[in-house]
Amino acid sequence: MTSGERSGVPATRLGMTSLTSADIAHLRTGAQFLACTIDPTSTYIYAEMIQSAMVSGQVQLVDVESLDPEDLVVATGMVTQGLFIADMPPVGDEFLSCISAIETALSRKVQAVYSLAAASINGIVPLMVGLQSGLPVVDADPMGRVFPLISQTTLHIGEVGISPIAMMGVTGERAMVEAPNPQRAETLVRSLVTELGGWAATAMYPCTAGELRMHGVRGTVTRMIRVGEILDADESVENKYRRLIELLKAVRISRARVQHIESLSRPTGLGLPAQPSSMTLIDETTGQIIRLEIQNEILLVLVDGAVAAAVPDIVTLLSPEYGTAVSLDDVGVGTVIDVIAIPAAEAWYSAPGLELAGPRAFDIPLDHPRRNA
């Protein structure tokens, strides 16, 4: 996509776009849509902060292709375990400190930042970091969605190193983690996060722009903005759906009414943040019974007991009445929702991808329908 297509602001250099306040608003919507299970409040807070800060600065979005392949880029994002970001948003110095810790550790200057995950809070955080640091934000990320573990990335599949990881916690305490194995890094970072107060601002996966281009998921920031443009548009719900399905190759699995919600609905043995729950819905047109299995994310959709979508597919919810993103918090018994499945980045359907983020990685003893397909 070229910058001229989307934004009124002219490109400052080839492949680089200055984001507008409207872009931020759309990105907020897109970031919420792609991660409907997560309370969007912290994303709203960040969007508001960015929009007010844009009065005195600019956010530059850059295509990974237009960076020098040797440029050092780093992922920024929040890792949480025990404190709601909406209850205590970062005070403002955390990410800059993390970036400078990475620069010191590697004796190199960071040339651009990218999102740890292209949805929810981590989809928007790097824009504030870019605004504060003056660094461009790369239009790519290592998940192409949100996964609960920092080891669940396409960079991990591509064997790009996760370390060093710079962290700064709620009280301003700092830590640096060096663990070559991303799974170990996840364990260490998660336990440190609890000790640091419940969340940490982090910078990790320092790599070259060339590596990010090769192993990251590209165009994902633009995708969030595009999704937001569609959902925020003042047009019929049908039109929004048509455009959304075209953009995301999405499938509407069902339009159904919530019948039952259940917490701690199945046994789990893994160290995943938060516990599982389930939701059962009835499609009133077809009579189909839809079952959603949730643990941080919607992991599995069964239609009359048959698998309709499974992680790493992105499963999200839309309001058929307003054509807007639905937050799981607002869904109660009686709510009618559209269940939408979006294919994840292709890398997730490879054998190592499914190993890392397929149903079995979430303790669901099923093979993804695309395994060996």
Partner: protein
């Protein structure tokens, strides 16, 4: 004013008076002459919707105290409040402290520094204080310690602690606490006024104010939690329509001059959510009836009973979306709702559980607490029931953290005739 008996409107009238006190007095006098002579129809309860008054009265200024591990490092990282609340904050003070979702202390409370600031707070002359602490929904100690320090300096302070208003977001609780604090003087004044007039005409009636969730609370609480009565009107309309049509469970579609909206009732009480959202900004952390614009895409549940109420003052034109009204009312149906409102109490809390049995236990405890809360509001112990109870896991919080939410409703021992 509307007097209601069962599902029937006994009397309805408006009044014109010079002052609020006069208007209240006139209304109650009218009611007294209408009903008092009939000993078979005692007035047991009077419920007032004070929302419109609270909204029009100018709120007081507030000192906002915020407890968190670190203050914002720059202007952009301080969360912004909706303009109606931001303009009320004369002074904002940061105190070090706060807790995580499990109630673990994030930083020791910076009480000494705060105590040093106390004289300057008192010097502002402002008596309305809001205190919001990070993690106060999991641990209330820091908010309470700051409040104690303030009261020891000046016992006349009207303090709102944010943990009484459940939200995972600091800014929601902050906003709610500030607004509540700003309204508490007005609430106090209205409560006194209503109390005085009602006592004159109906000395034995229980006095209540209508709440945002479609329930009622004793008038005595209007001065401490006025925010819960700020937006009661939509809830009361939904309840009013459901009461008049005798539909306890179903959808209530309100056709009004300003547009069509839809709400839900369950067990005869409006379905509520814990926040009143305002776009992408801070939400008001008060239970409120779910009430949304009606669109042509609205899907009716096939087996649900719907009330379609034509509440428009202009008669003749059909309702939009081809809706056929099941009832047409010109009277203020919100007042019918007020008269029918039950006492409601709710529990919203985070619990740490290890297994399903634990979860059930936590939920059961919350149900008992909600019922005793309703009894404390004035319901007869045998007349309470749970109208909503859920325990849900919170994504990306901490293993074992669940949010337990319970609503209970109750009636007084005798409730034949209710009046507003």
């Amino acid at each position: 004013m509307t007097a209601l008996e069962g599902q029937k409107i006994l009397h309805s009238s408006g009044s014109r008076a010079g002052s609020l006190a006069e208007a209240v007095d006139q209304t109650l006098a009218q009611l007294h002459s209408l009903l008092h002579n009939d000993p078979l129809r005692p007035v047991t309860e009077i419920t007032a919707d004070v929302g419109p008054l609270l909204q029009t009265r100018s709120p007081a200024e507030v000192v906002a105290i915020r407890v968190s591990p670190r203050p914002p490092a720059d202007a952009f990282h301080s969360t912004s409040l909706p303009s109606n609340a931001a303009s009320l904050v004369r002074r904002a003070i940061h105190v070090r402290g706060g807790h995580d979702v499990r109630g673990r202390e994030l930083a020791p409370l910076g009480l000494e520094d705060f105590v040093a600031e106390l004289p300057s707070i008192v010097a502002t002359g402002i008596r309305n204080i809001s205190i919001t602490g990070v993690g106060s929904i999991a641990a209330t100690a820091h908010e309470e310690a700051v409040a104690d320090a303030l009261l020891s300096q000046d016992s006349d302070m009207r303090i709102t602690l944010s943990h009484g208003y459940f939200s995972n977001a600091f800014r929601d609780r902050d906003y709610t606490a500030i607004l509540n604090s700003a309204l508490s003087a007005t609430g106090d004044e209205l409560a006194t006024l209503l109390e005085r007039s009602c006592r004159r005409y109906f000395p034995s009636a229980a006095l209540c104010y209508a709440k945002n969730d479609g329930g009622s609370g004793p008038l005595s609480l209007l001065s401490t939690t006025p925010v819960h009565g700020l937006f009661a009107e939509p809830a009361m309309r939904i309840l009013g329509c459901a009461t008049l049509t005798g539909v306890p469970d179903g959808e209530v579609i309100l056709g009004e001059d300003q547009g069509v909206s839809v709400g839900l009732t369950r067990h005869g009480i409006p379905v509520a959510s814990s926040l009143i959202r305002r776009g992408h900004g801070a939400s008001l952390a008060s239970n409120a009836a779910v009430h949304a614009p009606y669109t042509r895409n609205h899907l009716l549940a096939p087996d649900a009973v719907s009330v379609i109420a034509d509440l428009r003052q202009s008669i003749g034109a059909p309702l939009p979306f081809g809706l056929k009204p099941t009832i047409s009312i010109r009277d203020d149906v919100a007042l019918v709702g007020c008269a029918a409102a039950l006492l409601t109490g709710w529990i919203d809390r985070l619990e740490s559980v290890v297994n399903e049995a634990d979860l059930r236990r936590a939920q059961h405890l919350a149900e008992e607490d909600a019922q005793s809360m309703t009894v404390n509001l004035g319901a007869a112990p045998g007349n309470t029931r749970i109208i909503e109870s859920s325990a849900s896991s919170v994504a990306y919080s901490y293993p074992g953290i669940v949010r337990v939410r319970v609503r209970a409703a109750g009636t007084r021992a005798v409730a034949d005739s209710e009046v507003k």
